[in-house]
Amino acid sequence: MSEKPKVAFYWCASCGGCEEAVVDLAEQILDVVAAVDIVFWPVALDFKKADVEAMEDGSILASFVNGAIRTTEQEEMAHLLRRKSKVLVAFGSCAHLGGIPALANLWDREAVFDTVYRTSPSTVNPEGVLPQVTYLYDGDRVTLPGFYNTVRALDQVTSVDYYIPGCAPTPNIIAGAVQTLLSGELPLAGTVLAPDMALCEDCPRIDSKPQDLSLIEFKRPHQVLIDEETCLLAQGLLCMGPATRSGCGHLCIKGNMPCTGCFGPTSKVRDQGGKYLSALASMLGIEDEAAIDRALDGIPDPIGTFYRYGLAGSLLHRRKMTSVEA
């Protein structure tokens, strides 16, 4: 038996970008592989659920789970890996706060199914067949996981020890987190393994951010020639920097695009969208009600902008359910 600590990787409702991020460690991944035993990683290795079930409880040092929880199967796997692992790490925005999949929380299952299986232009489904959790086919029972009304972050399903933020987490953040976990000196449970300060604080453009912004309108990236030196907020762009955790290396800012908030809020912020909304409204320099409304029309999708990666993890979690089944 190997003495190396065991780790597992798993994916739930995600795009696969987080798996890609692990591979993006490039040659650093060899150090990780040398230091640990990967006992479960469906995307890369041929271990099955039964192999995990056969392990002793708590025998895995750390499980890195990416993706949000949308189906009964994902919930079951989250519980299974929780039981088998000493440390459960929510890896990436979706596991951390719900991520992009959680924007589906503006609808419910019925609406999602209706769009995907009935009304979307590329759908051909004249009989209106919808996924069923169980179906008798040629005398055999076939099953599918159940599809919940609401997308949840990992910690809304089971207890999570640490969070690695990002969509996807950057190589330096992953390497730092893995190093921390292997060092044996574990931080407080519940810690987000990234710097606890706002992106603006160490932004390369911070010097061009005026003390008091006094904007009269908001602009979207395609409506303006973006200056490469000046603070993006000062240019009227919706940069999430003030309400977002730093640590990503300012990749978007360096690419001359505003921050979209994938690292989630800092520990001092209760609700990323609420905080950003607050900051944004303060930056408007107008007092006339009609002019304020005109300026706010420059934010055509407030929820998709403020909660792009964090609707499930926000204070209200989802759009209010209006149907009886809520």
Partner: protein
């Protein structure tokens, strides 16, 4: 003394009363509430008043937090435009409110559940009218039910697995 019962008596829909969290600024609306009290005005008892120094102190997170903890409505009261004790705090409140309202409507929260009013220290009657009107509107809407704990979200997945489903069902 009667023995405490294990479950509170069932409350019919007609008896339900909304809970409204009210953030009143120290210099105007809170004084109006004070005046309403000393003038012995009567108004709906649904509001839980929280005094803040300025309506500009009301972080949108406070409103979200109130709703997430079971408030059925949130009322923000500040000084009239131009009268802010801190010059422009009420304008800041106005801008935040207009944006927050757009967002909350997108999240399925009825418009009448959040309200911003300018009420000066002398306008006790306006305060009374606003609270009475809002309490009636929110009562008509019914409970907000925004405090659903995450574990309940899994609900809505009917146990179809138990049923024998053959062929297409919609």
């Amino acid at each position: 003394m009667p023995e405490p019962t294990e479950t509170p008596p069932a409350v019919g829909a007609d008896d339900w009363e909304p809970k409204i969290v009210a953030f009143f600024c120290n210099w105007c609306t809170y004084l109006a509430a004070d005046l309403a009290g000393t003038s012995r005005m009567k108004y709906a008892s649904n509001t839980r008043v929280i005094r803040v120094m300025c309506s500009g102190r009301v972080d949108p997170q406070f409103v979200l937090e109130a709703l997430a903890h079971g408030a059925d409505g949130v009322l923000i009261g500040g000084c009239h435009p131009g009268d802010c004790h801190y010059q422009s705090g009420n304008y800041k409140a106005l801008r935040r409110f207009r944006l927050l309202k757009r967002m909350l409507i997108g999240l399925g929260v009825e418009e009448e559940r959040i309200r911003l009013e300018w009420i000066s220290a002398a306008e006790a009657d306006k305060l009374r009218d606003v609270i009475n009107e809002m309490a009636a509107q929110v009562k008509a809407l019914g409970p907000a039910h925004l405090e659903t704990p995450p574990e309940d979200w899994a609900a809505g997945f009917e146990v179809e697995a138990e049923a024998e489903v053959e062929g297409v069902t919609v």
